[in-house]
């Protein structure tokens, strides 16, 4: 390993003289990892505090800057199997956290007030049946007012603020009837209390607030969780570049800060951080993330390289043309814009419902009040009835119907290794009927794997892996991934562009190119080319082996494709790789509709043709070249190893080495759509019964509040059913931990396997 990472940009000094650092942790599979990490760090001199947050896989350490270089802590954790990435908490995330606390505080106050007011109200009701003096009842009402008014003013702010903002824009949202109901009920109660009336409605108003805040907090929690995971992933992909200064010194800087014309060093095994031109050095680069082409391209001085491509064999000096955005991405973005319109036409079920709902509620309540007054009722009775209508139609059940299902299903998706990205992704995924796969990086693993593993004796493989663990070369990583964590060869030395060597059990062992290992270079190359693979050679004394590496199908690709077809989905493959390679994969998976040599515009055209034919295609792809297709598709999923552009366009991302999450996502989406419909149906049915009763004046505001809460509970309980199956995902996580899965963020096992077990 060369130089440790420079973490100085992420350190935050604290008032007591200690330094603080946040990390995103990769490789945490179960709660026992908390102890591993914290104990290992606390044993180091200089570390004062180490705290793992298991919910969002973060680690915060506080240390004495004079006694410890934090890079050592990173190294310590790497040795016990956790990769940690320095991390700057995004402002949006900080705001979300503040908002969650704010909502919880409001929720607590509303809960406290609702409980105590209810205590007083129950006394009044039972006193009404017995012998309570009217003075005592007034006292209870005044105490209720004393609790309820400040509590509602505090806890109702989230609704009042949003309702006010909507009214200012001359629009209506769900919060307008809520605020109106609460304020009217409270005002009416105060009026009643002053006039020594028998009934007051403080309890109804507060209970309403309490339940609504529950719903809002749940919704916010889901969003916060997704954002935290996204933040971790951003840290995992740490956009750092090695900047070369004029005197040859190398410093690590954030890619975003690079200026055109700057010189960047790209070591073998690194991804190229920028679009640019090679100034010095020759190498082979893997451009599969850009083009889908699996063969490596030889490059030398003068060659153009694109951000995201993987540098294989030699160190390169690259002159920055554009960091972050480049001409290739510009072209992709142009295609994106034309495709973007398609999705924005979609409006979620909840939006459609609420758009109609708010005005209907107001008109009904107003009509009720006017109707009763014109029928000769007193203004007082008419307003009480109108309040009952407002409360009973309170969109609680409706407001919870969809978000509750969303929360529970995205929890279940999370367990399966799927993260939702876009708005209404779940609802769109549920309607998909064609699944279009990209090949490279999607059906196949993003990194090369050993294709001839079964030909190589385990003992030799393990010794080669010990050498490979000492290397940063991407091909060496493939060996390590196959063998998992284990011993590292002592005193290993890496010769750039050749290989790695070390003494193993007293004999010199080498892993690297054919020449480096003294093997017949032409023979090895011929064998590798016949298999469309790269070769990596191994020699220890007379012991030799040739590892052939290429991108192989994901382990469960065939299984998932078959399962999708059995579930009634049409399956297609669209690849930018050669037609021959695409046809091979299509044959292996039994897919008939496969198209190779597809450029981004070809993919886009195919998806538009599908949509024009009335189909609802799901695009699964990872590369820059898939981005327009992902955007144009009805719904889209991208693996977490994909390019940034692809991920930004996708509705959902999946983690891990398996394809199963794609099938899970579709299954969970369908289930949650069913539950959403059930919930909306229940909410509507409830309103159909309750509203006429309220309008005709049979319902007091209290009964309205109770009925409303009852329907909310019913809807929430129904939503919980979406989590069934999520438990299986949890089991998968544990299995992965037991088998000592290598450092992959999550390795959810397939559900079918869990059922069999």
């Amino acid at each position: 390993m060369d130089g440790l990472v420079d973490l100085s940009g992420f350190v935050r000094p604290r008032e007591d003289g200690l330094n603080e650092l946040d990390f995103a942790v990769e490789g945490m599979t179960c709660a026992a990892c908390i102890v591993d990490i914290e104990q290992a760090l606390k044993k180091m001199t200089g570390v004062r505090q180490a705290r793992v947050n298991y919910t969002n896989h973060r680690l915060a350490i506080a240390y004495d800057g004079a006694a410890l270089d934090p890079a050592e802590a990173v190294e310590t954790l790497r040795r016990i199997g956790y990769r940690v990435h320095p991390f700057e908490v995004a402002q949006a995330e900080e705001r979300d956290k503040e908002e969650a606390r704010y909502l919880l505080r409001c929720l607590a106050v509303a809960g406290f007030a609702a409980m105590n007011v209810m205590l007083l109200s129950v006394s009044v009701w039972s006193g009404d049946a017995g012998d309570m003096a009217s003075e005592t009842r007034d006292l209870f009402h005044w105490i209720s007012a004393l609790i309820a008014l400040p509590a509602a003013a505090f806890a109702g702010r989230p609704f009042f603020v949003s309702a006010f903002a909507a009214l200012k824009r001359r629009a209506l949202n769900m919060d307008v009837p809520i605020s109106l109901g609460v304020i009217l009920a409270l005002a009416m109660s105060v009026y009643e209390t002053i006039h020594h009336a028998r009934h007051a409605y403080y309890d109804s108003a507060l209970m309403l607030l309490f339940f609504l805040l529950c719903g809002r907090y749940l919704e916010q929690t889901m969003r916060r969780r997704t954002r935290a995971v996204a933040g971790n992933l951003a840290a995992l992909r740490s956009p750092l570049a090695n900047l070369l200064s004029a005197d040859g010194a190398v410093t690590q800087v954030a890619t975003a800060r690079l200026k055109p014309g700057a010189l960047v060093l790209v070591r073998p095994g690194d991804r190229v951080p920028v679009d640019g031109t090679v100034v010095k050095g020759t190498s082979e680069i893997d451009e599969s993330i850009v083009t889908g082409e699996t063969r490596y391209r030889r490059i030398g001085p003068g060659a153009e390289v694109l951000a995201g491509t993987l540098n294989f064999s030699g160190a390169l000096h690259v002159s920055v043309r554009a960091a972050g955005v480049g001409s290739f991405i510009d072209e992709i973005e142009r295609l994106l814009e034309s495709a973007a319109g398609a999705k924005s036409r979609f409006v979620g079920i909840a939006d459609r419902a609420s758009r109609i709902y708010a005005p209907v509620v107001h008109i009904t309540a107003l009509a009720t009040a006017i109707g009763w007054m014109s029928a000769g009722a007193s203004a007082h009775d008419a307003i009480v009835t109108a309040i009952a209508v407002l409360i009973i139609t309170c969109p609680c059940a409706l407001a919870l119907a969809v978000p509750a299902v969303h929360v529970v299903s995205s929890g279940a998706l999370f367990q399966s290794g799927v993260l939702l990205n876009g708005d209404h992704a779940l609802e769109r995924l549920a309607e998909v009927d064609v699944v279009v796969f990209d090949k490279t990086g999607t059906l196949t693993t993003p990194e090369p794997r050993v294709a001839n593993a079964e030909e190589i004796p385990a003992a030799i493989f393990e010794r080669a892996a010990r050498l490979a663990r000492a290397s940063k070369h991407p091909l060496a990583r493939a060996l390590v991934d196959m063998r998992g964590l284990g011993l590292v060869a002592d005193g290993a030395r890496e010769e750039p562009g050749a290989g790695v060597l070390a003494m193993l059990d007293g004999v010199e062992a080498r892993l690297g190119s054919a020449v480096f290992c003294g093997l017949d270079a032409d023979g090895v190359r011929a064998r590798a080319e016949a298999q469309q693979a790269s070769a990596i050679c191994y020699r220890r004394g007379d012991e030799t082996a040739i590892f052939l590496l290429r991108q192989t199908l994901r382990l469960d690709a065939a299984q998932v494709v078959t399962a999708l077809r059995d579930a009634g989905y049409a399956v297609e493959i669209l690849s930018g790789d050669s037609a021959v390679a695409t046809a091979d994969v299509a044959r292996a998976l039994g897919v008939e509709a496969a198209q190779g040599d597809a450029r981004p515009s070809d993919k886009l055209a195919r998806l538009e043709a599908l949509r024009a034919a009335g189909r609802k295609p799901l695009m699964v792809g990872d590369g820059f070249n898939d981005a327009p297709a992902l955007k144009a598709a009805y719904a889209s999923i991208s693996p977490i190893t994909g390019a940034d552009v692809a991920q930004a366009c996708a509705d959902a991302l999946f983690l891990g080495e398996r394809l199963q999450p794609v099938a899970d996502a579709l299954a969970i989406a369908r289930k949650s759509r069913r539950l959403m419909r059930e919930n909306l149906f229940m909410a509507v049915a409830y309103n159909m019964i309750a509203v006429p009763l309220a309008v005709t004046g049979y319902v007091t505001p209290l009964i309205a509040a109770l009925a409303m809460s009852g329907s909310s509970l019913l809807v929430t309980v129904n939503a919980l059913r979406a989590a069934r199956g999520g438990i299986l995902g949890l089991m998968g996580d544990e299995q992965a931990a037991e088998s000592g899965a290598p450092a992959i963020t999550t390795t959810p096992q397939s559900h079918t396997k869990d059922v069999a077990a």
Partner: protein, 52 residues
């Protein structure tokens, strides 16, 4: 009914105490990692080596 003059303030104070406890735990970050807290109760890292 004079007993009410004691009981209602007591009931309210108990409620306020609960509310204060909740706000305190919120402020000290005890709701930041619910999954971790569920597991941490099972760890023996507070015991001396010999009793684990």
């Amino acid at each position: 009914m004079n007993v009410l003059l004691f009981l209602i303030p007591i009931a309210l104070l108990l409620g306020l105490f609960g509310l204060a406890a909740f706000v305190w735990s919120l402020r000290t970050g005890q709701f930041d990692d619910l999954d971790g807290a569920a597991a941490r109760v099972l760890f023996d890292d507070d015991l001396p080596e010999s009793e684990r």
